[in-house]
Amino acid sequence: MESIELIEKLSNTPGISGDERKVRELLKDEIKEYAEKIMTDPLGNLIALKGMEKKGPRIMLNAHMDEVGLIIDHINKDGFLQFKKIGGIDDRVLLGKRVLIGEKEIRGVIGAKAIHLQEVDERKKSIKSTELYIDIGAKDMEEAESMVPRGSFATFDTKFEEITENKFIGKAFDDRLGCAIIVDLLRQNYNVPIIALFSTQEEIGLRGAAVGAHQYTPDVAITIEGTISNDLPEVPDHLKCSKLGRGPVITVKDRGVITDNELRGKLISTAKQNKIPYQFKQVIAGGTDSYRIQTTKKGVKVLTVAVPVRYLHSPVSLFFKDDYINTFKLLNKFLKKF
């Protein structure tokens, strides 16, 4: 299926906040047939326009291109790389993982002291990211520096794959799933002007979107995300946030916005009319680009719709194809209504 191939490409491409070039190039290539104008702004946002001459409300489709990752800030004399985290990453998921570093995608592994040498107490504690290092097999600082310049970004070395029928694992589903849905939506035709905003630096403070809606300010903006599913054993129902397999996740409120009450109603009735399953985000957590877009200039009505994903911001996340398809369907039907 076309969408899955696109998601695979997007997931496998590195694009840490501030270093989104490869994702941008890929997306540009994917949308060039469907958008009438494509541009990149000074913050690196990719903006595409379609049908701007049409009447009716201008609708922005927004997803962020960046993913969480690491940045190399120091190389020690033995050739090991020290790093800082970019975006929210749980220290406990880092140890023992493979990473790809810099433009040349140098392979490395995140290491720490071997278990054989640890004291009993040490084994019980999780190691802080500041005590971990990346090993690229360099013999000393000089060799390491020639392979990986300081300031290089590192991404998890995770290959996209189908683990069981229609269920996929990979990295950066937050928010490459949103990017893929926008590409799929741009392939369709609607009666309203569409502004696609593929934003940068979302994970480090919604920075791309802070300016991304300024030049082409929409009336309505829909932020499309991969969002938190905490539907794990032992988690009480009200803390699961969202569940895999239950369809698109509609946000009423997160930490950034209360989405537009009227438009949300219209979205829900679209789902009901078309018998598309949907669910609400059930924990008020996280924030998205919609926070920035909502208060651009005289104000924008916002909605947030997401594909539920388990293990966000970790080296391996998981989603169901059905949820992706239903999210696309809902948005497609919704946009057809205008």
Partner: protein, 330 residues
């Protein structure tokens, strides 16, 4: 004015659901201004046209509250907060949901059923008398908003009610418009009743972009420091409206705050100077609009902000109206 305040605090208006408040205000100010309009974001604007500098007054219509996030199989609700809710004060309160359903907040703890040990919102639930998920869903949905059940009482000059933050600012603005002599207004005056202040000062931000005033003044509540062992805040109830110097979001324009102080002195209106380090108001967003707006704020000292027992002194409210009237009239 008491009746006006009572009407305003009884209106249902958590952030993003300000319509009932808006309706009351619209009726109150319709005859007092040259035009009334609602912008695309939901702010209500009363405009008195004038030739000179433009002045934007802002008072927010919204109040803090809760939102239903989950309904369990037995019909109990879980809620999240809208704005800066003091979670530890929530247990034992009555909540009024949109549509009129009432609920009582309690908490789950097998070990300690009478004393809240774990002050986490995720441990709290609301009982609306539903017997199942199905019966609950007839009354509320996920996303339904709720507020502290409105109440209002007066003891002498003191008023206690939830949502005085910031219905009192709205009341000051309305009363001001009622007493202003329109011909004497020296500014191009926009009185903006803003939305979504409690969840990030949003209405004021987009409204001031739209209006782009020369001067902005917010009308809001501020903390009082006159209760037993209260933090060191030099504001007290009944000592006059507070002219803001600084809060966590802004330092007020020296020119405007001096003008306000001079106006108070000249007219023998009592006033206090406000310096607080927590919380902010609409003026913080107005100040940094486009190329910048000279901004200030006139506040009403209020005890127990963001609780059901918000308490203030009516003389401060009346003096705030006087001060603003003198500031605005020739």
């Amino acid at each position: 004015m008491e009746n006006l305040i009572k009407k305003l605090v009884y209106a249902f208006g958590p952030s993003s659901k300000e319509n009932s408040v808006k309706k009351i205000i619209k009726e109150e100010i319709l005859k007092e201004v040259d035009e009334v309009y609602e912008d695309n974001f939901g702010n209500l604007v009363g405009h008195i046209k004038g030739p000179n500098e433009s002045l934007m007054l802002a008072a927010h219509m919204d109040q803090i509250g809760v939102m239903v996030t989950n309904i369990d199989k037995n019909g109990f609700l879980r809620v999240g907060s809208i704005g800066g809710l003091h979670k530890s004060l929530l247990v034992g309160q009555k909540i009024l949901f949109e549509g009129g359903v009432e609920g009582f907040v309690y908490y789950e703890d097998k070990e300690s059923p009478w004393e809240v040990k774990d002050q986490k919102l995720e441990k709290f639930y609301v009982d609306i008398g539903a017997t199942s998920r199905t019966s609950a869903k007839k009354l509320v949905q996920i996303g339904t908003e709720g507020i502290y059940k409105p109440s209002f009482y007066v003891n002498g000059t003191r008023i206690t009610a939830p949502a005085l933050d910031d219905r009192i600012g709205c009341a000051v603005a309305i009363q001001l418009l009622k007493t202003l002599r329109r011909k004497k207004v020296k500014y191009d005056l926009y009185v903006v009743f803003t939305v979504q202040e409690e969840i990030g000062i949003k209405g004021a931000k987009v409204s001031s972009y739209d209006i782009t005033p020369d001067i902005g003044i917010a009308l809001d509540v501020t903390d009082a420091g006159d209760t037993p062992e209260s933090p060191a805040i030099s504001l007290a109830l009944g000592k006059g409206p507070a002219i803001k110097i600084m809060d966590a979001g802004m330092i007020a324009s020296k020119r405007i705050r001096t003008l306000l102080i001079d106006t108070a002195k000249k007219n023998n209106i009592p006033y206090q100077l406000e310096v607080i380090t927590g919380g902010s108001t609409d003026a913080a967003a107005i100040q940094i609009t486009k190329t910048g707006v000279e901004s200030a704020a006139v506040s009403i000292s209020t005890r127990y902000i963001h609780t059901p027992g918000e308490t203030l002194d009516m003389t401060d409210v009346e003096n705030a109206v006087k001060l603003l009237k003198k500031f605005i009239e020739k």
